[in-house]
Subunit: 221 residues, 2 copies
DNA sequence: CATTTTTATTTGGTATACCAAATTTTTTAT
DNA sequence: ATAAAAAATTTGGTATACCAAATAAAAATG
């Protein structure tokens, strides 16, 4: 029977990739351990293995950096994760905020071919249900041209692309407002009085704070 | 991150179930080790763990027997495996003899709910692509009423249900004859001369040995 | 029934992937 | 510059799941 070869490797690489791209700060052992919810000793040990495997580099200042090889593997894992998320939402009728754990399991299925077939089966979706772009089979990812709603111009129409805060609480709140990735919305006005936002969603007008607006990424239509 | 708790347990239980149902002989450590392609020491160790978990019983004569709990878990694993096989063939356009390894991975995804949804999505198929029956969500399996073609009556029509030998070689051979699970065939005659079989498949007449006929399970139409 | 042969079991290892606690090194702040 | 805080590292463990080789027990066979 096949072994679960380097099953956790994908989690490390994926998390490293996210940390590297989300912040401009360098990633250190502590940060990675925190992100993975693991003991620093464990992470250090694993980073050394990943260094041997040429997946990461340990810089002289002790920051951890993905190599090209590591970055590609991370992106392919992200591809798997996001495609399975689309599958779960589109075909298995899960809600977009219910699929993370399952996709976390499915992303470790080893078969590039299956993932490519899944991609085709789903109609080569460019985004996952959270609005995150899906890397192609070579690990190339389209730069996301979306901007926070808080930076947008009143009177214009936008498509919701992605959410920065993906906490359950926030997603529930947006759910009530009927806002989700893919939804067309119109920014009505930014109220000077309290910096709140007025937005048209499916023929209804809703209000929310600037904090919320900062967490909604949109693309102009 | 979630652990791969008892990931191999499912393989042991599944294999045990198959050994128990395929032969009337009792299953001993050696047989199980051979079936799993593992060292007997490893298997013995694991069987003790499974005994602690009330999945199997070690009989005084040292034969290994699944408990009800173990049998149910085995059947639910088989359910997962077979449903994923249907998915791979029906939706991912794999050929029926290409899906085993992948299903072997997918069957370990932990979510009874996902499997039930998958079942619905696939239209509650009663059989997998090899013709094996798919247990329901409670682990109940319909008794297979099929018989080997070698025991059938010339002149009657049958549906191919299942194959006993699932080696690539055999499947390739049957592929050339256009015989696969689900196919309607007519047994023309059993030739006394060399015990060979003459069968009508899709308006064509094909011949094969008794050995082949013994490995094709059919149901009368 | 004694001897092979087979099966079961024990023993001492391995690899992966974790952890807690102690220690060392580095950074930060006074 | 030095004390305190933070980060990195080492050390000694754990659990799962494997193996090879030695030994013991059971079964088969002459």
């Amino acid at each position: 029977m096949a072994h679960f070869t380097h099953h956790s490797e994908e989690n490390y690489l994926k998390t490293l990739f996210k940390l590297e791209s989300r912040q401009d700060k360098k990633v250190n052992n502590t940060a990675l351990a925190k992100a993975l919810n693991l003991n620093p000793a464990t992470v250090l040990e694993m980073i050394r293995k990943l260094t041997d495997r040429k997946m990461v580099q340990l810089k002289p200042d002790k920051s951890i950096q993905l190599t090209e090889k590591g970055k590609k593997k991370a992106l392919l894992t992200i591809r798997k994760h996001r495609l399975w998320e689309v599958f779960l939402v589109e075909k298995m009728n899960y809600k977009w905020n219910e699929v993370h754990e399952l996709a976390e399991q499915l992303e470790h299925i080893e078969s590039a071919d299956l993932v490519d077939r899944l991609d085709g089966f789903l109609g080569n979706p460019p985004f996952d249900p959270h609005g995150d772009p899906i890397p192609d089979k070579n690990g190339k990812i389209k730069p996301n041209l979306s901007v926070p709603l808080s930076d947008c111009i009143p009177g214009k129409n936008y498509t919701v692309i992605n959410l920065i805060d993906t906490s359950d609480e926030f997603l529930q709140f947006l759910g009530k407002l009927n806002i989700l990735p893919g939804r067309r919305i119109k920014l009505l006005e930014k109220l000077k009085y309290d910096n709140s936002f007025s937005v048209e969603v499916q023929e209804k007008t809703v209000q929310f704070s600037e904090k919320v607006a900062k967490n909604i990424l949109v693309q102009s239509v």
